[in-house]
C-alpha cells in the first residue's frame, strides 16, 4: 500500500497487467523511450522492450486502426492518444470498425482494446488541449467510455478496461493527474465497468459528477454539509457509457433532489442523458428540478479565461444550495 498519484496509479496497472499477460502491449506517440508526454508509460519500455511498448509513427488513426487488428488477432493493445485535441482522428475507426466488429460477425470477432486519452481543462494548456468531449465516444454503441476520478479507481478501472472483451475508451482527467494522492493497494483491485459508485451516502440531495469534477465537488459538498447540516449523497459516474442509470435513479428516489456537475459544455452532454434517465425512472420522486452545473456552449476559451467557464466551486455550491432550498 502506497500513496500515489493518478499517473503512477495508471502506470502501476499497466505494469502489473503487462507482467501478468504477455498479450498486453502498449502503443502510441512517445510512449516508449520517452515514457509518454505525461509519463504515464514511464519505465515500461525498459521493462518490456520495444516490441511491447511501441513508439508509433505520428498518426492517431494508425494507433487505433492497428490496435483493432492486433486485438482481432489475439493481443490486448492499450493505445495512447497524446492529447484530447488529437483524439477526433480516431473517430472514423472507432465508429466504423472497432464498435461494430462484434455485431457484424455475431461475436466471431472481438476487439478487446483500450484507448487512453488524457482530456479536460484546468492545466493552462495550449489550445486543443483542454476539451471534455466524452460524448463523442459515448454516443457509439459497442464502445465503452470510462473516466476515473482518482488514483485508486484509475488503477482498478484500467485493469477492468484491459480485461474487458470490448473496446474501451479510457479518458484521463489530466487536471487530476498529479493533483492529489491516494492509498492504492499493491494487490490488484478491479472495478466493474458499467457501474457508478456511491462514494458518500446521504438523504437530502444527490450530487452526480465524474472525472476532474469529482475532486472539486467533494470539497464543496464537505463545505455545504458543514455549513448547513445537509446530508448529501455523492455519486461518481465512472462509466459514461453504458451508463448506470439505476444507481443514479435509485439515489434520486431516496433524496428527491439532484445536481449534476459536468466539465463539458452544456448541450448534449452526459448531464442531459443523466437527467433524461431521472425523468424516465424517478420523476415523481423529485422535489426540485434537477440542476446542472456545466461549462457553456462556447468554443473553448484559451487558458486565460478557462477557469471562469468551467464549473467553479462557487457555481457548484450555489447549484447545491438552490436545489436544497427549492
Amino acid at each position: 500500500m502506497a500513496k500515489i498519484n493518478m499517473v503512477q496509479a495508471i502506470n502501476l496497472a499497466l505494469e502489473q497487467e503487462m507482467a501478468k499477460d504477455p498479450n498486453v502491449i502498449v502503443l502510441g506517440e512517445d510512449v516508449g523511450r520517452d515514457g509518454g508526454v505525461f509519463r504515464v508509460t514511464d519505465g515500461l519500455f525498459t521493462k518490456f522492450g520495444a516490441e511491447r511498448v511501441i513508439d508509433t509513427p505520428l498518426a492517431e488513426g494508425a494507433i487505433i486502426g492497428a490496435a483493432i487488428g492486433m486485438a482481432v488477432a489475439g493481443l490486448k493493445p492499450v493505445g495512447e492518444i497524446q492529447f484530447d485535441g488529437f483524439s477526433y482522428l480516431i473517430l472514423a475507426q472507432l465508429e466504423g470498425n472497432a464498435a461494430r466488429l462484434r455485431a457484424r460477425s455475431l461475436g466471431g470477432l472481438t476487439v478487446p482494446m483500450v484507448i487512453r486519452i488524457p482530456y479536460g481543462g484546468g492545466i493552462r494548456a495550449l489550445e486543443h488541449h483542454s476539451e471534455s468531449r466524452e460524448v463523442y465516444f459515448a454516443h457509439t454503441p459497442g464502445v465503452k467510455t470510462v473516466i476515473p476520478s482518482g488514483p485508486r479507481n484509475a488503477r482498478a478501472l484500467m485493469l477492468a478496461a484491459i480485461r474487458d472483451p470490448d473496446p474501451v475508451i479510457y479518458m484521463e482527467p489530466k487536471r487530476s493527474y498529479r493533483a492529489f494522492r491516494e492509498e492504492v493497494p499493491d494487490e490488484e483491485e478491479v472495478m466493474e465497468i458499467g457501474k457508478a459508485q456511491v462514494v458518500q451516502e446521504g438523504t437530502d440531495l444527490t450530487v452526480v459528477a465524474w472525472g476532474a469534477m469529482m475532486h472539486i465537488v467533494k470539497s464543496v459538498v464537505e463545505e455545504v454539509q458543514k455549513a448547513r447540516k445537509a446530508s448529501i449523497e455523492l455519486i461518481d459516474v465512472l462509466t459514461i457509457s453504458p451508463l448506470d442509470g439505476n444507481t443514479i435513479a435509485n439515489s434520486v428516489k431516496k433524496t428527491g433532489r439532484c445536481v449534476v456537475v459536468q466539465e463539458a459544455v452544456r448541450s448534449y452532454g452526459p448531464a442531459s442523458e443523466i437527467i433524461a434517465v431521472i425523468n424516465d425512472k424517478a420523476l415523481m420522486y423529485l422535489e426540485a428540478p434537477v440542476k446542472r452545473v456545466t461549462n457553456f456552449d462556447v468554443v473553448t476559451p484559451y487558458f486565460g479565461r478557462e477557469m471562469m467557464y468551467m464549473p467553479t466551486m462557487g457555481r457548484i455550491k450555489r447549484g447545491i444550495e438552490e436545489t436544497l432550498d427549492f
Binding site: P57, A59, A62, I68, A73, P77, N97, G108, L109, P165
Partner: protein, 363 residues
C-alpha cells in the same frame, strides 16, 4: 557536390498470361492441376453468382451490392497462394476470394439481403474479417494483425485488399507506413479497377502507377496484370514467402477493370463510354484462364459443360436457401453490442420486444 543523387527507384509490371492465353514459360508458376481448377471454379462461380445477384437486386429480392464481374483473377488468385493460417482482410469487391476461402453463396445472399447472419465467419476459415465498406480503413487492421502475427512468432501473414480510390485515403498511407516501419508480414493488394464510382484512375492520383506509392514507404511494390490469374498468383506467392521469412510487407497493384457499375445504385453511362467497357471485355480474365487450362490439357469443353450445370445448380440452391422462410431473431442486435451484460441494454431489449409485439398486434 551540392546536389547528389540519394536514390533511384523503378516499378515493374508483370504479365504471365497474355490476352490470347499465351503463357510466358519462364514465369509460369508451378501450381498443381487441382489447385488451378479450384481457382478456375471459384472464378466461374463468382461470375455466375454476381450476375444472378444483379437480377435479384433488380427484382428487389436482395439489396444494394457492388458487383465484382471482371475482377475475378485479381481477387481470387491471391487466395490460392495463402496458407490456412494467413489472415484475409478484405474491402467489398472480392466475393470470389471469399468463396475461395469457404464462404457459402447463400451466406453472401443473406448479407446482401440485410441480415448480419450473412457476415458471420465461415465454418472452414476463421481468420477472415467481414466486408469493409469504410474505404481504406481495413488496411490498418491488416497492419495490426500482421504486427500481432510477428509478435506471436506465427509463420503467417495478413493479405489485405483495397481499391484504387483507397490509395487516396489517409488510412492507406498510415497503414503502409506502419507496416513498413515495423517490418510486419502483410501483403496489400490494390484492385485498380480504373474507377472509384465516377472518378477515373487518372483523376484519382497524378502518379503514373499506384504501385509506386509503396516506394515512399521503402516497400517492395509491383504492378501486375490483374486479369491474369497466373501473374496475380505468382506476385502474391512471392510477397507471402517474403513476408513469412521476415522480409516485411509488399504492395501489389492489380490492373483490372470494373465491368459493371460501382454498386447497383450507380449508373456508369453517366461517366464512361461503351467503347471503353467493350475494350475491357476483350481482356476478360475468365476465358483467358480457360484457354490456358485447355492448352495444358487440364480442361475440356465437356468439363466446361458439366461445370456450368453444376454452378448453375449451386447458385439456384443458394437462392432457394435465401428464400426459404426462416426466422431472423428480431432482438439479435442486442446480443452483440458487448460481450458483457448491462442493465441499460437488458431494459431496452425488453422494451423493444414489448413494443414490436404491440406493433404486430396493431397490424
Amino acid at each position: 557536390m551540392p546536389i547528389t543523387e540519394v536514390g533511384r527507384w523503378t516499378v515493374s509490371h508483370m504479365q504471365i498470361l497474355d490476352e490470347q492465353g499465351n503463357v510466358d514459360a519462364e514465369l509460369e508458376p508451378k501450381v498443381p492441376r487441382e489447385e488451378l481448377l479450384k481457382l478456375y471454379r471459384a472464378m466461374v462461380l463468382a461470375r455466375e453468382l454476381d450476375q444472378r445477384m444483379l437480377k435479384l437486386q433488380r427484382q428487389g429480392r436482395i439489396g444494394t451490392f457492388g458487383p465484382c464481374t471482371g475482377q475475378e483473377a485479381a481477387h481470387c488468385a491471391p487466395t490460392l497462394a495463402m496458407a490456412p493460417n494467413d489472415w484475409f482482410v478484405g474491402a467489398f469487391r472480392e466475393m470470389g476470394a471469399r468463396l475461395m476461402l469457404g464462404e457459402k453463396p447463400s451466406q453472401v445472399l443473406v448479407y446482401y439481403n440485410g441480415y448480419e447472419e450473412g457476415s458471420t465467419l465461415p465454418e472452414s476459415y476463421k481468420r477472415i474479417l467481414p466486408i469493409n465498406i469504410i474505404v481504406g480503413s481495413q488496411t490498418l487492421h491488416a497492419a495490426g494483425i500482421a504486427y500481432a502475427l510477428k509478435y506471436k512468432k506465427e509463420n503467417a501473414a495478413a493479405v489485405c485488399y483495397l481499391g484504387d480510390g483507397a490509395t487516396s485515403e489517409g488510412d492507406f498511407h498510415e497503414a503502409l507506413n506502419f507496416a513498413a516501419v515495423f517490418n510486419v508480414p502483410a501483403v496489400f493488394i490494390s484492385q485498380n479497377n480504373q474507377w472509384a464510382i465516377s472518378l477515373p484512375r487518372s483523376a484519382q492520383t497524378k502518379s503514373v502507377t499506384l504501385a509506386q506509392k509503396g516506394i515512399a514507404y521503402e516497400m517492395p511494390c509491383l504492378q501486375v496484370d490483374g486479369n491474369d490469374a497466373l501473374a496475380m498468383y505468382r506476385a502474391t506467392k512471392e510477397a507471402l514467402d517474403r513476408a513469412r521469412s521476415g522480409g516485411g510487407p509488399t504492395f501489389i497493384e492489380a490492373v483490372t477493370y470494373r465491368l459493371m457499375m460501382h454498386t447497383t445504385a450507380d449508373d456508369p453511362t453517366r461517366y464512361r463510354t461503351k467503347e471503353e467497357e467493350e475494350a475491357w471485355w476483350k481482356k476478360d480474365p475468365i476465358p483467358r484462364f480457360r484457354i490456358y487450362l485447355e492448352k495444358k490439357k487440364y480442361w475440356s469443353a465437356k468439363q466446361q459443360t458439366a461445370l456450368d450445370a453444376e454452378i448453375l445448380a449451386e447458385v439456384e440452391a443458394a437462392v432457394a436457401e435465401l428464400e426459404t422462410p426462416r426466422e431472423y431473431k428480431p432482438d439479435l442486435p442486442f446480443d452483440n453490442v458487448f460481450g458483457t451484460r448491462h442493465e441499460i441494454l437488458d431494459e431496452q431489449r425488453a422494451e423493444f420486444l414489448e413494443e414490436i409485439k404491440k406493433d404486430a398486434a396493431n397490424g
